[in-house]
């Protein structure tokens, strides 16, 4: 008989868990897995940006010169590319986040029914999936627009 409810994984037995590679690899199992992966990475990236942004703007308290030298730091090619990434990731994360709030509350996934071969799962329907594509598309558009504003003005 199996051990019940303790998490014993015999030492000389390989636990078989995929580990962090499991979630770092988005190339299997379709678009929802890509959404999961991107939502995490964009969330983490935005958190880093957010903390940096709070730090960056605190230079305001040190007067004009401190503020301007901080602004100069961001007004480089690298700084602009970073900002464009922020624009893209925040657009994706927001739009897909709204999709997830709906889907993860069971909205737009269809109703349970009698499954028939070939068993196309109703939760993976194209209506909710298209939310991922729309999020990606809007992120691209926002990045293009941001790029035009940032690089168009010549910094």
């Amino acid at each position: 008989m199996g051990t019940v409810s303790n998490n014993k994984e015999n030492n000389n037995m390989n636990s078989g868990r995929e580990g962090i590679r499991g979630w770092l690899n988005p190339t299997r199992y379709g678009w929802e897995r890509v959404s999961y992966w991107l939502q995490r990475l964009t969330g983490l990236f935005l958190l880093v940006y957010f903390v940096g942004h709070v730090y960056e703007t605190s230079s305001l308290t040190n007067g004009v010169d401190a503020w301007n030298s901080m602004l100069e730091l961001t007004q480089t090619i690298g700084g602009h590319i970073f900002l464009i990434l922020v624009i893209g990731t925040s657009t994706f994360h927001t739009v897909n986040g709204i999709r997830l709030i709906f889907t993860e509350s069971g909205k737009g996934l269809g109703k349970p029914g009698r499954p028939d071969y070939p068993y196309n799962p109703s939760s993976l329907n194209y209506t909710q999936k298209s939310g991922i594509w729309i999020a990606l598309l809007l992120a691209c558009i926002a990045m293009l627009y941001g790029g035009m504003v940032l690089f168009g003005e010549g910094g």
């Binding site: 051990t3 000389n12 078989g16 379709g30 929802e32 897995r33 999961y36 996934l109 799962p121 993976l124």
Partner: protein, 260 residues
């Protein structure tokens, strides 16, 4: 025709024995295949004619018992339900299911997976009905319409094959997470009109490593061989728990022999 008759594929089988500290490796076998040959047929051919020591687990050969799950060409699948001709590849790689402890070759240990299932109290609970009945005339039955049944039937088709568990990215790092199989079973009873123990099950899954560790990556529903769509059940359950959707479940009426 004769060309098809003589077709052969190479079967690469993951081999290891943890009790003997064998290092893992792959053994290669040539297997003749027909259009209808399944991966399980091919493995049994290997056992009969090449190497009888290959460890596999199977029983029904018809996608009913849930014991032949393994990773076939990278995807968790039932060996008896996967035809080699559908894989469109001359090399078939068989590996044990990811996220399960490995015992030997393709056989993995399901005890933790089953204990997650068991934690969901996967049986009808109804405090209006006494479990101990002495007098036969006190026996009751529940009335359900076809529509009532359709709300949970799909989830009751689960054969506990563990494919969903091995595809889930949360399970990959979190052994305390019940996983798609157990959580969709929690929904199965939540949606069943005969059961009225909603609170108990909510308390079990509303904790740190519970249902909220699902992020709708959908992989469970991609691999499920029975059309259970565990991701659907889990998200519907979340909606109920957040109070964003109602479970319009009518608790089934009881019919006793007496009042008939």
């Amino acid at each position: 025709m004769s060309n098809e008759e003589n077709k052969k594929v190479q079967l690469k089988v993951y081999r290891t024995n943890y009790n003997k500290d064998d290092s893992s490796h792959y053994d290669k076998f040539e297997v003749p295949v027909k259009r209808w040959t399944t991966v399980l047929d091919a493995l049994l051919h290997v056992k009969s004619y090449s190497d009888s020591s290959v460890g596999i687990r199977y029983s029904c050969r018809m996608a009913s018992c849930g014991s032949c799950g393994m990773k076939i060409n990278g995807k968790p699948s039932l060996a008896c339900y996967t035809k080699i001709s559908e894989l469109k590849d001359d090399v078939i790689v068989c590996e044990p299911l990811p996220n399960f402890p490995r015992i030997r070759d393709l056989v993995s240990d399901f005890s933790q997976f089953f204990s997650h299932h068991k934690n969901m109290k996967p049986f009808i609970q109804n405090d209006k009905v006494s479990v101990d009945i002495d007098d036969k005339s006190d026996l009751v039955e529940f009335e359900q319409t076809h529509e009532d049944v359709d709300k949970y039937l799909q989830f009751s088709y689960c054969i506990r094959c563990g494919l969903c568990y091995s595809a889930c990215p949360t399970v990959a790092t979190d052994p305390k997470f019940p996983g798609p199989q157990a959580l969709s079973q929690a929904y199965r009873y939540e949606a069943d009109g005969r059961d009225n123990s909603k609170k108990t099950r909510f308390n079990i899954i509303d904790e740190r490593h519970g249902i909220w560790r699902c992020h709708f990556a959908g992989s469970c529903s991609v691999v499920c061989p029975k059309g259970v769509d565990p991701a659907l059940g889990i998200q519907l359950l979340k909606g109920h728990m957040l109070g964003l959707s109602k479970n319009n479940k009518k608790i089934s009426t009881l019919r006793t022999k007496n009042n008939e």
